[in-house]
């Protein structure tokens, strides 16, 4: 019964689509017979250099044709044309020739003949490129109108963005006179109306992105806030910091490892030396290493990134120096494993099971491996302290570790452990920034409820 129903339904679907196709063809025929009156052209057509960019882009604006959405309502789309000299076509021919030579090179290997040919082609190409501005100046001689884009009816602007790469096929040179026009096009593409030609217009790169002024203001404000509080802290002002259990646990954990005579495993994560979370982790490592040196406990720091390894070696070495035990420092305390995520995990898992560290500390950037590491450590019975700014991994650390520093707490931790007023001062600045965020958001909320969106726009940063 059901099967029949499906078959009938499918049949009907087919029939329906045939019928639809038929009515469509009928329509098409009828339009060919009807003649459409030419639409009104767009008005107020303007072209200008796209602001706040690196150049190679022109923005076009216009007012809709009177027959777009009104009047005869016959405009379907707008086609944008740019006048290009014939010289542009010789560029295309040269590019094609160069591609052929490249393909030959892949087939035949690097032969001298091909290299020579390529060099002469490139020379010619560059010579043509140099001629482009003067060729454009010759408008309207020795060129033609080329469609560069189209937009559906109802659109009032278009950005003609080209590539900055000279060998790209849509290379758009800077400081060259361009001429544009926009055609309002109807169903019958031969029935159309062209706008007045706008030109000459040139594009160029800007030296300052005015769309990013709010960011500049905010960055300057934040910098001043940080410097102010750091200076204040330097001058001896007492700053309160709330306790962070994860940080206090570090000291206990080192003590525990010493008592048990087992090592401490410090994992810096998969971040590069450039990740700020890794930099925060270095500060924590420095503190841990100093204490480890004092207690003469063993420290293991297997690393994933060789640059991180290099920095971590410096940090640990200095910590041993600070603790007055430079001779106890071993170069292989911090060692490289491999730069492959899961191979690294396999090796660290092995260390956890064989060396049985009393404490595992995970600080930095972690991805999917967070759970494997933390669970293996938990199964091996180690005390575990973690901290990361990777939001997706925090839940796994919370479940499998004894203490977890959540997001910003990791950055705060480096200041805590350093216990230097300078670092603490910046915590105060962060808090003020947060308070400012809350206040601004409240103001914004009130304003947006009254429909004033200008305030919100301040936070939307131009690309």
């Amino acid at each position: 019964m059901n099967l029949k129903l499906i078959v009938i339904f499918l049949l009907m679907l087919c029939l329906g689509s045939f019928a639809l196709a038929e009515t469509n063809t009928v329509n098409k025929d009828s339009t060919a017979v009807d003649s459409i009156a030419p639409p009104a052209p767009v008005t107020m057509f303007k072209a200008f250099d796209t602001p706040n960019d690196h150049g190679h882009s022109i923005t076009l604006n216009w007012q809709l044709s009177a027959d777009d959405g009104a009047g005869q309502n016959s405009v379907l789309q707008y086609q944008i044309y740019r006048w290009v000299p014939y010289l542009m076509d010789s560029l295309t021919t040269l590019r094609k020739a160069m591609t052929t030579v490249k393909e030959e090179e892949i087939k035949r290997g690097h032969e001298k003949v091909l290299k020579k040919e390529m060099r002469s082609l490139k020379k010619e190409y560059n010579a043509v490129l140099k001629e482009l501005p003067s060729a454009h100046k010759a408008y309207p001689n020795n060129g033609y109108w080329k469609e560069v884009g189209k937009v559906p009816a109802g659109t009032k602007s278009y950005k003609n963005t080209g590539s900055k790469e000279k060998e790209s096929q849509d290379y758009l040179p800077d400081l060259t006179d361009f001429y544009y026009r926009v055609d309002a096009v109807t169903k019958d593409s031969t029935v159309r109306a062209s706008s007045k030609v706008f030109g000459p217009v040139q594009c160029s790169g800007q030296w300052f992105n005015t769309g990013r002024i709010p960011v500049l203001v905010a960055v300057i404000l934040f910098t001043f806030l940080t410097i102010y509080f750091v200076e204040k802290a330097k001058n001896g002002a007492k700053l309160y910091v709330r306790p962070l259990s994860g940080i206090e646990a570090v000291d206990d954990a080192i003590g525990r490892a010493t008592e048990m005579g087992r090592p401490i495993l410090y994992i810096l994560g998969l971040g590069s030396v450039a990740d700020i979370a890794t930099i925060a982790s270095f500060t924590i490592l420095s503190r841990v290493a100093k204490q480890v040196a004092e207690y003469q406990t063993e420290l293991l720091v297997p690393t994933y990134d060789p640059l991180v390894m290099a920095v971590a070696q410096e940090v640990v070495k200095s910590a041993y120096l600070d603790a007055g035990r430079p001779d106890d420092y071993k170069e292989d305390t911090v060692h490289f494993v491999t730069q492959s995520q899961f191979a690294y995990v396999a090796a660290v898992n092995g260390i956890m099971l064989r060396e049985l560290p009393a404490t595992n500390i995970y600080m930095g950037v972690f991805f999917a491996e967070s759970l494997i590491l933390a669970e293996t450590g938990a199964l091996a019975g180690s005390i575990q302290i973690a901290g990361t700014d990777q939001i997706a991994q925090i839940p796994f650390f919370i479940v499998a570790c004894d203490y977890t520093l959540i997001g910003e707490e990791l950055y705060a931790a480096s200041a805590y452990l350093g216990r230097e007023p300078l670092l603490l001062g910046s915590l105060k600045a962060q808090d003020y920034a947060k308070a400012l965020v809350i206040i601004l958001a409240i103001i914004g909320l009130i304003m947006s409820n009254f429909g004033w969106t200008q305030f919100t726009d301040l936070f939307k940063v131009a690309n």
Partner: protein, 213 residues
Amino acid sequence: MGFWGQFGVWLAALLTIGIISFLYKDNFLYKACEAIFVGISAGYWFIVYYWDNLYKKFYLQVTNHDLTSWERIIPWVGFILGVMMLSRLFEKIGWLSRWPLAFIVGATAGLYMMIYFVSNAMAQVASTIIPVFIGDWATIIANFFIVAGTFCGLVYFFFSKEHKGAFGLASRVGIWFLMITFGASFGYTVMSRMSLMIGRLDFLFGTWLGMIK
């Protein structure tokens, strides 16, 4: 599948079992897999980075005569900085390696600072600013929770103020919100992780043993 193809599948199966056996306990097969894995992957990435970084970004640049002489000279700075990294191998001049490190840390710190400032701070503030009291009552309640949750969460991250009184309450509500988030994201991941294991079992029982067709 030829002999070498079959051999590859058997090898892959053996390695798969070796790694899974770790769940039972550490054993010689796992240790062998681990050693193979570490060695081969280290070599693999060294080769890939050699061709991608040193060959493409340096060798091809400095030998490309289409570029301006400036563009051919500048990669040498990177090369010299790289060689300075190697100074670590010698105790006396090891401090030279701090130059390239300083360069990387400085350049990327500035980069990350701007990226995070815009995408994490400003963009998030912009999306928090929503008209709360518009729409049906369910939307209004949801909007209210979103805004209140965001504020309380931020209060939790205050470090220089004692969390007591109304401030403490807000901070406590904040951490509750955080915990709900972590729970939800944990629950969300469970299923996708299960499918990974199914994929491996499919290889063992399907591709290798041919039990699943």
